[in-house]
Amino acid sequence: MTNSLNDMRHAKSLIFIGSNAPEAHPISMQHILHAKEKNNAPIIVVDPRRTKLAAKATDFVRIRPGTDAAFMLGLINVITTNGWEDKEFIRTRVSGYEELLAVTKDYTPEAVEEITGISAEQTRHVAKVLAENRPTSLTWCMGGTQHSIGSSITRTFCLLQLVLGNMGKSGGGTNIFRGHDNVQGATDMCVLADNLPAYYGLAEGSWKHWCRVWDVDYEWIKSRFPKPELMQLPGFSLARWYEGVLGEEKLYQDTPLKAMIQWGCGANSNSQYNRVVQAYNKLELLVVVDPFPTMAAAACDTDNIYLLPSASQYETSGSVTSTSRQIQWRHKVVDPVHNSKDDYQIMELLVNKLGFADKFYKNIKQVPEDLTRELGRGALTIGYNGQTPERIKKHMENWHTFDIDSLQAIGGPCDGDYYGMPWPCWTDEHPGTPILYDISKPVAKGGLPFRNRFGNEKTYDSSGRTENQLAAKGVCNPGSEVEGGYSEFAEIVPGTNWKTDLSQKTLKVAIARGMAPFGNARARCVVWNFPDQVPIHREPLHSPRPDLIAKYPTYKDKQKHYRLDTRFESEQNPELVKEFPYVITTGRMVEHMGAGAETRSNQYLAELQPEMYAEINPRLGNNLGFRDGDMVWIESPEGSKIKVKAFFTERVDEKTIFLPYHFAGVLMGESLIDKYPEGHAPYVVGECGNVVTNYGYDIITQIQATKDGLCKVSKA
């Protein structure tokens, strides 16, 4: 989130795309509804499904899954055609705007209606509502990202906010609600195949930076890798790791995967989950570290599996980063129960056994506080250095002193700090940054311009136009020594820049001069390192509209995508819809979480939602000849199927079927409940919705396309 949940209280309008907050982020609703009631803010909900959030909306926009980019480009078309764009914001803080308009001119409301199913009239209406009620807070979740063009879709959300001038403002922003409790913190630490902690990437300089932080010899780390070039090649992603085991695809490493450690990760949130199960059975070693057995324990048929009982997060301590970038200390409530151990203890046992404990724990005496300090020392790109364990704990002790509207402490020991010191928090005196890219405040008080990351000038491929990428003259934070755009800071300490100067002198010098360490640039409409430099609509790989594939085809197949190839063009078959006529999409329910291993083992939640189901429109069910409550088979083009109860509801339209994805313990009609360790099977088992989610991955991130596949349905 660029802003915070609390800051949404200041929104004058709100738009949600592929987000269902009452189920997925229930307690955020008090701030959202505050804006609705207090500011009379319209709430626009864009979703294929009439969700609980849609029930609170002033406008519900039913969209065909996977066409969000077209709708956003259509809104920009209407806004710019009518002159409703924020001209001053665009002139001073945005680049590539003309190149954007060259694309959006084709997305007229009528063209958008043809793609999305949203009437031209409704597109015009929504654009007007947003133009007349600024600032708008814009939120998306997995409904916006889990598509083969997910990275383009999310960019169109940002472009809409730039055009409306809603960035860097209280009540505005792009406010992505993150899913799991610490998915923000874990992402920031880059438990990712393509990055070192704090998004440093995998370049040689990045490795050298972190080796300095770890206080280990770079040559030693290098010697741990089979070849130096593999240090810079992204690994397998969570979305497709199992293909590395199955060996049916060309791999970009010398060995297939033979061992898997699954640590706090219930894998039935993977699409094509039955292929994950096949991979489990081919592994030589599968280690599951979790408080609960997870579906893996029941799905793996071989003896090559170990279950290590980790304590829950209430039996250990450490910091967690909320969706609002706030860092909170999760204090330990009780010691690990039973014969479980906390994560740190298990890691220590493993590292000791594997023989690199001396180097791994070189600076770590006190766990977890020394880890907070070590990661902070290195994570300068995102300003994780100012949030010391002492400060985080002080915020916890004094959380009652923070104002609900501004999140700033009013008096008390944290006076002036923003709650949780939202990153970046550049120094141990910095209050945190409650709103990203806000130039109304000095940098030292939590303000920031846009980051200068991609050079100072660019000639665009599409237009041949050259544009300065730094902010316009006179546009900067109050007190800035340079009155206008400037480059990122480097060579304050010779041989380093603001990201690599471990003494942090560069950060302090920049802030003392009233400037942002990362420079003051424009936000880009043209991303020249992406295949679609300005985002466009492309039909889902498995499209229900074969007539649109010719006009909006997907990408060429992608080679060396992480460690394998990903099919795009060769997967987009216009004939597929004839046999698989319905769109399948997935989502959450409030009673369960993620893969459900925890919540389906909770007696209270199990009773509230005890059964897997598929939401089917009554008209579709009646036409297909089954009744509400009947068992039906849902089959995917990949040849997998699930047997679930039909739940007739007009939440979905006649062409769309919705599945909650939290269930597991039943696989393609067969219950696996007897295969869990005795006494540890969850209270509730059910078919995994993700067995029938289709092939399809984003071309940049490789996120799986679970929201716009195809399926067929029949009475069981």
């Binding site: 609390n6 307690i27 993150r178 899913g179 409790d181 610490n182 998915v183 913190g185 992402t187 438990v191 990712l192 195949a193 070192l196 902690p197 741990r224 890798f225 089979p226 690994g235 969570l238 979305a239 790791w241 085991v245 060995t255 061992a259 898997m260 640590w263 706090g264 990760c265 949130s269 699409s271 070693l285 408080p291 009982p309 829950s312 209430y314 301590s317 450490g318 910091s319 909320s322 969706t323 860092i327 409530v333 010691d335 014969n339 479980s340 056994k353 880890l371 907070t372 990661l375 959380w399 709650y419 460690r563 409030v590 909770n602 007696q603 209270y604 939640l605 509230l608 996120i703 679970t706």
Partner: protein, 198 residues
Amino acid sequence: MAISRIRKSAGDSAVGAGRRVTLNPKVARRSFLKISAATAALTGVAMTSKMTRKANAAEKKSPYAGSTKVRTICTYCAVGCGIEAEVHNGVWVRQEIAADHPVSRGGHCCKGAGAIDMVTSPKRMKNPMKKVNGKWTNITWDQAITEIGDKLLAIREKDGPDALHFNGSAKVSTEMAYQQRKFAAFWGSNNIDHQARI
């Protein structure tokens, strides 16, 4: 059924009506059995088949004398709601809303309201386990780490470090997530990822 059990145990443990609690029925029951037994011994009244009794005023006011309150954060979604956990003799006995937490302001969803069950669920894994001839078997931590470590080292020796994939977690602390990434680096592979990918 679960709901009726909550109500019943709340009554047994004499928590004042109107107070929002979720507690472990087993723990509450056990502690009150003890109190009942002690009272019976003191007054010389023989224990009846009914093992519980109504709490007196003092117990109603503070049923867990000497307990401590721990401020912590819910482990479900990324809203980051506060939880006030009450701990008595090392046991998490009750949880209260965090009425003055700046984000959640006393709100809890149905998941967060049952956070205590994460610790008390009987479904929790109790010991390291492995499969022997298809049967789940308890093993010691020593045996588990030795066998897993030996296998990992053997795979690393034969096929190289890229033969391991590490699925890390968005459910652990930032410090632990950092260690997961650091682990992969020291092991010698970029084959690591977590839920944020999807």
